[in-house]
Amino acid sequence: MDKPELIINGKRLDGRTPEQLRPIKITAGPIRNAAGSAYIEWGTNKILAAVYGPREALPKHTSDPDKAIIKCRYTMAPFSSLEEHGRPGMNRRAIEISKVTKEVFENVVLLDLFPGNEISIFVEVLQSDGGTRAAGITCAAVALAASGIPMRDIPYAVSVGKAGDTLILDMNKTEDNYSNADMPVAINPRTKEITLLQMDGELTPEQVRQGMAMIDKAGETITRIQREALRRPYEKVQEKYKASI
């Protein structure tokens, strides 16, 4: 197939401007059995994240007597993409994404509080349309916060890509397939620390700088949506309480 024009008259194929995010919706607490959970709809991505623990780290040799360990598992459902049926479970890509996701949370969780324990984070992509690792991290951050496990910050993630010579925020699958670069980044919004950074394609140093600025700006929106999702269940309780008196 020929490479399509990704930007026509300043608008992207789905009508967004280069710096515009797709619509994001997060719900906290959909998985009752989990210590914390969250469901995110990011564009047409649909992802569930659940947290179990802190619990005894098993098998024993994985445990650390000084602090908690984080285990992370990112997987895609075999029916999650429009293409042919996938294989359930982990491939090499999923193993790598699980690892970099784990490292994002190792940075923010107060691991010292739970020596010998493990905190398990499960990210399940039910429907995919590009940017699932960033959406998965954003969703898992809400699941962790909802579980009450102490964290220094609530990280978010989003990617910047390049269509022709224009930087575009938050690429969907089609854009990702034909773009000239992809740079997913996770940030601790309070301190602006970068905890995930990957990139492939072609970006000038100036474009890396501009991309980071776009990601920083998008963080205001994403962080607000995360916090609203965390607050909503409590507001519901509050409303119920107010109505009852």
Partner: protein, 261 residues
């Protein structure tokens, strides 16, 4: 005394008095809701909430080779994933015997009831449509057999039929529906504290002695599976088959009324 002993006593005492969680009857399902077609990249999907049990079924159709022993038919493959996010006891790793049994029992009901006419999935010499049914357990609170079967049948009943043109699979645009020839449902009973109940929740399931799944359509029993170490008498089986027929009317109604056209 540990927690599971306390829970066991609680479940046993209540069942002996004929009381179940939420005040439901011995042969009564928990509240059931079905959401169809939520996953748009799958050809078909259904999410079921049965009490606190939550299961998502995705259906995909691919062009592949027919099975060697059935060269003029398509095929069905059913897989179950007890996702580690669904319960603290579920591990990542190769499929457990529990998940394989679940997949095979759901598969058997669908296959035996001829819900899909596999002959119609034949395309040409060496090519057929293969139907993949993936049962994704998202939150476990008992009775995955009936939740899985109900959602799988609902997902199949509302699936798109992709087209195969010039050696390409066309999955978008104006598509017809996957042709459905029948409808099947299942009812799973368990003996807990000597009492037989329908649709066990997680606590009841933990202390079940014997389990019986009956899958049927309007005319006949299509699949059965007895599980666990306990037993049923022929008389009990007789009664449960009859109860399954009675209960299946409600299940068929729920699946039919959740159809989206």
């Amino acid at each position: 005394m540990n927690i599971s002993t306390i829970t066991e006593q609680y479940v046993r005492e209540r069942l002996t008095k004929g009381v179940r969680e939420g005040g439901r009857g011995m042969f009564e399902f928990r509240n059931m809701t079905l959401e169809i077609g939520k996953m748009i990249n799958a050809e078909g999907s259904a999410e079921i909430n049965l009490g606190n049990t939550k299961v998502l079924v995705g259906v995909k159709l691919d062009v592949g080779e027919p099975m060697r022993d059935k060269p003029d038919e398509g095929s069905i493959m059913t897989g179950c994933e007890l996702l580690p996010l669904a319960h603290h006891s579920y591990d990542a790793g190769p499929p457990s015997a529990e998940s394989v049994e679940l997949a095979r029992v759901i598969d058997r009901g669908i296959r035996a009831a001829n819900i899909i006419d596999l002959k119609k999935l034949f395309i040409e010499e060496g090519k057929s449509w293969n139907v993949f049914i993936d049962v994704y357990v998202l939150n476990y609170d008992g009775n995955l057999f009936d939740a899985g079967t109900t959602a799988a049948v609902a997902a199949l009943s509302n699936a798109r039929m992709p087209r195969y043109e010039d050696s390409k699979v066309i999955r978008e645009g104006n598509l017809g529906k996957l042709e459905i020839a029948n409808m099947a449902t299942s009812c799973t009973f368990a003996k807990v504290a000597g009492t037989i109940v329908l649709d066990t929740d997680g606590n009841e399931e933990d202390f079940s002695e014997a389990r019986l799944t009956v899958a049927n359509d309007e005319k006949a029993v299509r699949a059965m599976q007895k599980g666990l170490g306990g037993s049923f008498t022929p008389k009990e089986v007789d009664k449960l088959v009859e109860t399954a027929f009675e209960k299946s009317k409600d299940l068929r109604r729920i699946i039919k009324s959740s159809k989206v056209d």
